[in-house]
């Protein structure tokens, strides 16, 4: 197929929302105005791990414009976990802290006020009596005996069917190492990454005359958030009408259920529309990030470049709570062997809790760090066996019909074709025997 036949690729199409964007008429949540709007501001933990002994609102209540405070006692079902909707449990994150906080910035109490500045002033005047507890801030430290246990089920890892990690077992990895000419070992570490959307996380919840609530939100997960909000507030789903779809940058950062339950609760308690919008500081310091990952690779490689065994131990830093990380770890375990045909694979992928800002979804979450480590490892293997980094990838690339370590059959392999296109676009000349390869048969490849 030649490029000229494409109707979309390579062409500038008019966006349906384009006129709104270039005229400024696109309605983002923060652009919606109500005359009786109230503002919600959060009192947050200044410590990464502490016992919360008491919360004193007496000075906050004196601030002109203070309307009311909300604590955990006001939240009908205070403990939740976002992924309960896909069967992940138990509930483990409080909407508002009860008697202990597990990360710096954890929400403790909400202040509802007539103006944003009154809300901020009142929130700053709430007095917290806290006793600092030892914090654990490193994934491997968190798994050691004697580490402070921060999860209610008694371990600092998420249990997968009774195991401390998500496991993949394929072939016999020790036999592979015994056969190998080279063992290539490396450890990779990524940092947490903030989505930093241009528009911060926000919603407005408005009580309607019929007893329902209209929630204007920039969530990326409209119905997921509606369902979680109804569960947290213990109200029927049909009392909530969520209006969204206009998101000023998300990238996975607006998938968690954070502002809607409390704004709706505040609207219920006051009978007025309530806006809960993160400041830029909250967006950067409190909203969830991409997890930091630590990944250790041990690969068995033959002199001719074939990878015959791969053993990976990965630790995702979930921060203090689940959010989406238990799911990200499963995705990671399915992909960390890379798009390569390796006959013997062993993967242990841990979802670990620390006293850090919770991590969650971000663009290919769980897989993006895996790809970074896998491809760095491929370059290292190429260097150890003295082969061209392109050739090592063509040689090991999986083909359609191969079985992946987690027992899925490869049906849509395009790695070889994508590499050929990348070489052509960058002016890299590939030798004939690589150009002759494709994803449909092994001809010429030594895995056949």
């Amino acid at each position: 197929m030649s490029e000229e036949t494409y109707q979309v690729v390579g062409r500038a199409l008019l966006r349906r929302d384009g006129l709104g964007h270039v005229t400024g008429k696109t309605p983002f949540v923060d652009d919606i105005r109500f005359p009786d709007l109230l503002h919600l501001k959060m009192v947050r933990s200044p410590l990464p791990h502490a016992r919360l002994k008491s919360v004193d609102f007496s000075q906050a209540e004196k601030v002109p414009g203070f309307v009311r405070a909300l604590t955990h006692a006001d939240v009908p079902k205070n403990m939740y976990t976002i992924l309960c909707l896909i069967g992940i449990g138990p509930d483990e994150e409080p909407v508002l802290a009860v008697d202990e906080v597990f990360y710096k910035g954890e929400p403790i109490a909400a202040i509802v006020a007539e103006s944003e500045s009154a809300g901020m002033e009142a929130a700053a005047k709430v007095r917290l009596d806290m006793e600092e507890l030892p914090a654990v801030l490193d994934v491997e430290e968190a798994l050691k005996p004697g580490a402070p246990v921060i999860r209610p089920w008694g371990t600092n890892y998420f249990p997968y069917e009774g195991h401390p990690c998500r496991r993949v077992r394929f072939g016999d990895v020790e036999k592979g190492f015994a056969e190998a000419d080279h063992i290539v070992e490396s450890r990779y570490q990524t940092s947490p990454m903030e989505h930093a959307p241009s528009e911060t996380t926000a919603c407005i919840a408005k009580p309607e005359a019929d007893g329902r609530f209209t929630v204007y939100t920039n969530t990326q997960a409209l119905f997921f958030t509606l369902d979680n909000t109804a569960l947290i507030l213990q109200i029927p789903f049909n009392r909530l009408h969520f209006v969204g779809g206009t998101v000023g940058g998300g990238f996975g950062g607006k998938v968690d259920v954070i502002v809607e339950p409390l704004a709706t609760l505040a609207a219920m308690k006051t009978g007025r529309p309530v806006k809960y919008k993160f400041t830029r500081e909250e967006e950067m310091r409190v909203s969830s990030t991409r997890s930091a990952w630590r990944m250790s690779f041990k690969d068995g490689v033959m002199k001719d470049g074939r990878i015959v065994a791969r053993k990976v131990t990965s630790y995702a830093d979930s921060g203090a709570y689940n959010r989406h990380t238990p799911y990200a770890v499963t995705k990671h375990a399915a992909n960390v062997a890379g798009p390569y045909a390796i006959p013997n694979v062993w993967i242990d992928a841990y979802c670990v809790y620390t006293n850090r800002q919770p991590a969650s979804a971000m663009r290919g979450f769980g897989v993006t760090p895996a790809s970074f480590a896998v491809e760095a490892q491929m370059d290292k293997i190429a260097s150890v066996v003295g082969m061209d980094p392109w050739e090592i990838r063509f040689l090991n690339a999986y083909r359609n019909g191969d079985t992946k370590p987690h027992r899925k059959i490869v049906e849509d392999a395009t790695l070889i074709e994508a590499m050929k296109a990348a070489a052509a676009l960058t002016g890299h000349e590939l030798p004939e025997h690589l150009l002759a390869m494709n994803s449909w048969d092994r001809g010429g490849s030594r895995h056949g």
């Binding site: 006129l19 964007h21 983002f28 241009s198 998101v247 000023g248």
Partner: protein, 161 residues
Amino acid sequence: MASRIINFTLNGREVEALARPMTTLQSLLRDQLGFTATKSGCRQGGCGSCTVLVNGEPMTSCLLPVEDIEGEAVTTLEGLSSPDGLHLVQQAFHEGFAAQCGYCTPGMIVVSKALLDHNPHPSREEIVAALTGNYCRCTGYEPILLAVEDAARRMNGREGA
């Protein structure tokens, strides 16, 4: 401190507004006057989404006290299009797919307009320099730069050349 009456020109119309001390132009435009095309991404002068033109010069409205615009001419994105249609910079952004989420777009467009008013034939480097204070987290910078070049061609009457 008492509120003050501020007089200025907004998109060609005289405006008289009552403003409390420490009110920013961003807050006056958005919260009091309802001109919400001017966005609010960081409120610390870092993202450029709140940029407006004051006497034709780009300024971050989140850092500008309203006292400073007494008697000045302010232009927001709402002031660019006319009943006859879009400004050529808006047209170029729209037709060039130079917006993704749209949140940075108002700032990008007013800065580009100011650049082209001062410099009808900017180089790629001059466009990059002009937009350096405007953040696009969707990282759609390339179509934005192409749209500014396209707008320059349109404004110079060399459309399609």
